[in-house]
């Protein structure tokens, strides 16, 4: 599904100085697998999520990313989306004046067109979106509001998961989707992700906390420090991190 080899990425800071964030990161995810990336603040987790989705302000200096046999980095963000890559944003943006329902329908029909399916008409879409909204526990009233405008943190995250359910992507990146969620919302989000899982779909969970992994059980856990994967293991690694923190791993890293 996804194969990252030796990825080097930097970003320009406010003083126009290049700041290196990813330093030779490699990661391989097979269809059907759920991987988790954990790591301290500033280790580059969200940068990785954004680079995979195609944000343009990052500079890639080296390495290669293959997505189902294609060079992912050569594609525009919308082309990546069309190929089934979905990013659930850490901070979903507000788009004033754009009706949420209209936005969701435009996105879905765009994806359907790419897949050679006919667009859904307003009535069919309404039935579908209402069912999905219920599944993620988002009140229907939010469908009639502007995209994310005035939504609480939890409502924004539910709206992200709603989009995941509608667009049925093959590869999902959850960028700290658990932050700002209470325990009920967390469980509901996890259930949706679990239902979405199948042998063809992969998930990359970026998180600070072990908590989410009680509900979305990963196949592989990676620890990212200073722009690189330092250690990989199974779920027990996440528990070990929870108990010991990141310090014992960082101490071994030569800076």
């Amino acid at each position: 599904m996804l194969s990252i080899n030796g990825l080097h990425v930097s970003i320009q800071d406010e003083k126009q100085q290049a700041k290196t964030i990813l330093r030779g990161l490699s990661l391989h995810i097979k269809p059907g697998e759920v991987h988790t990336i954990m790591g301290p603040n500033g280790s580059g987790k969200s940068t990785l999520a954004n680079v995979l989705a195609g944000r343009t302000e990052y500079q890639v200096h080296g390495g290669h990313v293959e997505f189902n046999g294609e060079d992912l980095l050569a594609l525009t963000p919308e082309e990546r989306a069309a190929r089934g890559l979905f990013l659930a944003f850490q901070y979903p943006v507000e788009i004033p004046g754009v009706n949420n329902m209209y936005f969701l329908r435009t996105a879905l029909n765009g994806v359907r067109k790419q897949r050679g399916l006919s667009p859904l008409d307003a009535a069919d879409f309404l039935t579908l979106v209402k069912a999905k909204a219920q599944e993620v526990g988002l009140n229907e009233a939010f469908l009639q509001r502007a995209v994310n405008e005035g939504f609480s943190g939890g409502e924004k995250k539910r709206n992200e998961i709603l989009q995941m359910l509608l667009l049925e992507p093959r590869f999902v990146i959850l960028d700290e989707t658990d932050s700002g969620l209470d325990i009920d919302a967390l469980q509901m989000v996890a259930q949706c992700v679990n239902r979405h899982r199948n042998a063809q779909r992969s998930v990359l969970v970026v998180t600070h906390y072990q908590r989410l992994l009680d509900y979305i059980v990963p196949d592989v856990v990676h620890v990212m420090v200073n722009g690189r994967i330092l250690k990989s293991g199974d779920k027990s690694l996440a528990l070990e991190l929870e108990a010991k923190g990141y310090g014992w791993l960082e101490a071994g890293e030569i800076r």
Partner: protein
Amino acid sequence: MANNYLKEIVNKSYPYGFVTAIESDALAPGLTEETIHAIWEKKKEPEFMLAWRLQAYRHWLTMTSPQWAHIQYPAIDYQSIIYYSAPRANKEGPKSLEDVDPKLLETYKKLGIPLHEQGRLAGVAVDAVFDSVSVATTFKAKLAEAGVIFCPLSEAVQTHPELVEKYLGSVVPYRDNFFAALNSAVFSDGSFVYIPKGVRCPMELSTYFRINSAKTGQFERTLIIADEGSYVSYLEGCTAPMRDENQLHAAVVELVALDNAQIKYSTVQNWYPGDENGRGGIFNFVTKRGACRGVKSKISWTQIETGSAITWKYPSVILQGDDSVGEFYSVALTHHHQQADTGTKMLHIGKNTRSTIISKGISAGHGQNTYRGMVRMLPTAANARNFTQCDSLLLSATCGAHTFPFVEAKNPTAHVEHEASTSKIGEDQLFYCRQRGLSQEDAVSMIVNGFCKQVFKELPMEFAVEAQKLLEVSLEGSVG
């Protein structure tokens, strides 16, 4: 932004830039008292009109063009302009659509304004003004049944001189400003609307202005009177051919609302904006004002300004009647080298008068966009209220947005609120939309339309869709 490929997308050319080859009956360029006599004679107007036109002209000679707006343009040579041009007709004037030159009908068809009554805009009565004269008015019979008068102003001067004499210049006197004085002296046509007491106009009224001839100025004048308890919704649209030289458009619009009357006036302005280097385009210097003379009357201006090289325009409301309401909703878009200095004046005189101003400015390319507004609460305006919101959206690093609000409250019970914002189109918003599969252009269009939504929802249904499409065309290739 790294999306350089967008810069390469050639802007869709102005689709209305064609010229109709039609013989015209025009005066020689230049402006003297003889020119005014000639126009007056051609229009076969009553005596009072000549006196008024000449007064305006003599006053105009004493004035200089205003310099305070945030716009730059070369001095206009008023002696090189043709002040009257009309498509040559065999007879006195078209009695019905069958008498209209087929070339003219074809022109309006190409513009998407069919003048046959079962056209796309069925349910909308259209008055078509070509250069200096009105060439056709549709649905006259149906309107007459309701007692509504909708005809060219040149016709109203002859058929209803008492109404014209009473109201013409009563809202915008010829002394008002340089361009209003010029218009009063030389205007040749425009639309006239009278809605009788208690009548709700049975359809939307619309005037479509077209400049065709080269070197010709367009000086139309519109007068709308809504008698007690009546209602009318009126829309104007405008286009012009693409030419390298600038052309002047100096119109005047006057609205009068008596007790409990309502006038809703919408504009979709799409005069030729000039090319991407700022060559050519219409200079649009327009005076629009409404008077809420009666109690509980209401005047609402909605404008979508996407065309013209220069827009200088401040549709205003004089809130004279107690409990009267004034509204101004505006979207102004400047792209390439366009300049817009636009806004409104709300003059609160009566008690409990209310006004709302919503202005959305969008700047792209090297466009300069200025909001200029004035809210005045006179000592008599007890409990008057105003709410103003002006937002600016910048789509490039080379464009500009400016806001000049002026507020004066001379009554202690009056209340004025002002909100303003300026934002660059969000990278985060664009990326969010693209991550969900929208193309860059669709994302820009969606975000801009969202930004304008408060204004679009004020437009009559048929035109809201047109306005959105217009914005899409005008914005093509604007982000990069």
